[in-house]
């Protein structure tokens, strides 16, 4: 136990205490200006009946629903392509991974220009093919898909890297045996590769879902949650409640709701994966 004490203390100070403090404060009207007063479950009632926060919950689910599986699929595809004798594959790996390590503000600023309705790259390309220009970030129809596309693009790098590492650790003899038995490449992929990638997939899925539920900076820069709250997320509403509206107690309740969301999703995924992520 002594050996884990440093890690335990670190987790206690930086995770345990803040989580418990947030839980306690979620039952108060704490506003950083005055003493917190106990308000029972009022913050939870307010959050769950607030149409904007509920909109944020739906938007977060939609964002996660599209970014996680799509990005995972693309990442796996790219990892498979890069797990070959492809020439200049190191260059491609770097190129795919760069968005992951680039500051989100830089990424978002580039995408702001791409989506600019008048002078942006996307409308210019579409115009070349005779497709009418769209207001990507100020339209209630296009704003969320536009944000999702950036989320997918930015998230592919890390997923690809994890899949690539997992692919490179798969036992070669299994494939050799399958080839001897006459299994096609497609059959090998679905019958060997995918099942053996299950632990990696579980890890990528859980971390991707958590990351998607924590989407904040892209929204902050690209749309400010708009137009008309169509791209607001749970994290963005938490930020606004705490830092712009001084409703810290309420923001804590919203954070606990987000925590419960993530916990349930992780448990559900664990159950779907057979309750054990560590064994093949």
């Amino acid at each position: 136990m002594l050996m884990v004490a440093p890690a335990f203390l670190h987790a206690l100070i930086w995770i345990g205490i803040p989580v418990i403090a947030a839980f306690v404060l979620s039952f108060t009207n704490y506003d950083v200006l005055t003493q917190p007063r106990f308000t029972g479950i009022q913050n939870y009632v307010d959050a769950l009946t607030d149409p904007v926060f509920r909109r944020g919950m739906v938007n977060t689910l939609v964002y996660a629903f599209f970014t996680v599986p799509v990005a995972m699929g693309i990442a796996l595809l790219i990892a498979l392509m890069l797990d070959t004798q492809l020439r200049a594959r190191a260059l491609f790996r770097t190129a795919v991974f760069i968005p992951q390590v680039t500051a989100t503000i830089a990424v978002a600023l580039v995408w702001l220009w791409i989506y600019d309705p008048r002078n942006g790259l996307l409308n210019a390309v579409l115009g070349f093919f005779g497709i009418p220009a769209q207001n990507w970030l100020s339209s209630t129809t296009w704003a969320m898909p536009s944000v999702i596309v950036v989320g997918i693009w930015q998230g592919i790098g890390l997923k690809m890297l994890i899949y690539l590492a997992a692919l490179q650790s798969l036992p070669k003899d299994v494939y050799e045996a399958a080839s001897v038995d006459g299994a096609s490449k497609t059959r090998q992929f679905f019958s060997i590769t995918l099942p053996l990638l299950k632990p990696a997939t579980f890890f990528v899925f859980v971390t991707s879902v958590i990351s998607a539920f924590q989407a904040f900076d892209l929204i902050y820069i690209l749309t400010d949650g708009g137009p008309a709250n169509t791209t607001t997320m749970m994290t963005y509403e938490i930020y606004k409640s705490a830092f712009r509206e001084f409703r810290v107690g309420y923001a804590c309740a919203q954070s606990i709701i987000l925590f419960v969301f993530l916990l349930l999703l992780t448990l559900a995924n664990r159950r779907l994966n057979g309750g054990d992520s560590g064994r093949h």
Partner: protein, 427 residues
């Protein structure tokens, strides 16, 4: 060493108690106003949303604070720079961690919430009369009849228009009411096929909240009652102010998608609008980006029943919990004096809050600032309720629901009134 379940729970409980107690002890609630009597000395912090960038830092620390220290050599000022967008976060985290700056810049509308919760200290009324202020300018600095802040720079929302487009269309006068605005905007709108290449009026390149408030005040509407406890914007005037934008969009003379980001050449500069709501800092932008347009752009104050110009700005206030209140007070008084006010205004292209500065070289050389100063009598400000910090965040997204057609103007205003009433009820 072993961690039993009991010791774990005890540690967590103590930690939580410490966290909650830490929050509580840092709260200024119930504290009396910081006593400014005593020696002007000690270390103080200044959270500054002005004097941006390296130039601003050089000006503040290399020039202004040296002047201050000549008078008060025993005061050591540490400046924490921020931008206006992050000011809220800085204050929140400062308050939560017990590190509320001794002197802080605040925005218009922020005084009632902070004063109501005893986070800032009242200032002597004599500071309101030592220089000449337009009375409207001091209104946002007051709460409950007391002065809590000194205005430094003002940012007014005015209407700017392209004189050359007016001339081409044979329009001689600027609109005097909304009916005229609609007609002129329709006349100035240019289409190529179905595509609008120039809108007659661009109300959307400034914050929708501030734009709507300008029109609300120009239609003789009010945001809140004098005591800040009653919502008044859900009046026919408030609904009509929002409806005007919808009508102009239906006319094809305004377009929600046709906006420009801060810092980019405006729609007026690009020639994609003929009239736009803007900020007085447009002049600096014109000098830097489109000097050839300076003579082609004019300004006016619009109203329907009552010409009104929205006045925002940055004020300087003293923390109620300062450990060196005399030093903090001295810095507030210094920052609210003509030299710092003029320098800060000049750096941002803002309007100096002190009317005496109207004859300064800076004001005389910036027609939009001079125009705003001349019209300060028509200035109106947002805020006016202790619940403002919460309400202000909800205005833009709620109004947008009407702009994008999710609900009518009446429904959006009713929804906003409900949110505002709930926030006021929580006080």
């Amino acid at each position: 060493m072993e961690f039993s379940r009991r010791s774990f729970l005890t540690a967590m409980g103590l930690g939580t108690a410490a966290a909650v107690a830490g929050c509580a002890t840092t709260s200024p609630s119930g504290s009396s106003a910081a006593d400014p009597t005593g020696p002007v000395e000690g270390d103080i912090t200044f959270l500054c949303a002005l004097f941006e960038g390296a130039t601003g830092k050089d000006t503040l620390e290399g020039k202004l604070l040296k002047q201050f220290n000549e008078k008060y050599p025993d005061v050591n000022v540490t400046v924490d720079y921020t931008d206006y967008g992050s000011l809220n976060e800085k204050i929140t985290t400062g308050l939560a961690s017990g590190l509320m700056p001794d002197v802080v810049t605040l925005g218009v509308g922020w005084i009632p919430p902070f004063a109501f919760k005893n986070a800032i200290a009242p200032l002597p009324e004599s500071l309101a009369t030592r220089y000449t202020y337009e009375e409207r300018v001091l209104e946002p600095s007051r709460f409950d009849g007391k002065l809590y802040a000194l205005p430094m720079v003002l940012d007014t929302r005015i209407v700017a228009y392209r004189k050359d487009f007016f001339e081409e269309a044979g329009i001689k006068d600027t609109p005097k009411n909304w009916d005229e605005l609609r007609e002129i905007a329709k006349q100035l709108t240019v289409k190529e096929g179905d595509k609008v290449t120039r809108v007659g009026f661009d109300p959307f390149s400034i914050d929708l909240r501030q734009c709507w408030e300008t029109f609300l005040f120009g239609n003789s509407g009010e945001l809140f009652s004098a005591d800040g406890r009653e919502v008044l914007f859900d009046s026919p005037e408030g609904v009509a102010s929002l409806q005007l934008f919808l009508d102009m969009m239906a006319d094809g003379s305004a377009d929600f998608a046709l906006t420009t980001e801060a810092g980019q050449p405006t729609t007026l500069q690009q020639g994609t609008s003929a009239i736009m709501m803007t900020n007085n800092s447009l002049y600096v932008q014109l000098e830097q980006q489109s000097p050839e347009l300076i003579d082609k752009i004019g300004t006016f104050v619009l109203g329907n029943t009552d010409p009104a110009m929205l006045q925002g700005g940055t004020m300087v206030s003293q923390s109620a919990t300062s450990k060196n209140p005399a030093a903090a007070r001295a810095l507030v008084e210094f920052l609210g004096s003509p030299d710092p006010v003029l320098v800060a205004s000049e750096q941002r292209g803002s309007v100096p809050a002190i009317s005496d500065l109207k004859d300064s070289e800076y004001v005389q050389g910036n027609p939009m600032v001079a125009f705003a100063l001349e019209n300060l009598g028509k200035a109106r400000s947002e805020g006016g309720t202790p619940a403002w910090m919460e309400i202000r965040e909800k205005i833009k997204p709620t109004l947008e629901t009407a702009i994008v057609g999710q609900q009518t103007a009446q429904q959006a205003i009713d929804q906003l009134a409900g949110i505002a009433n709930d926030a006021i009820a929580r006080l």
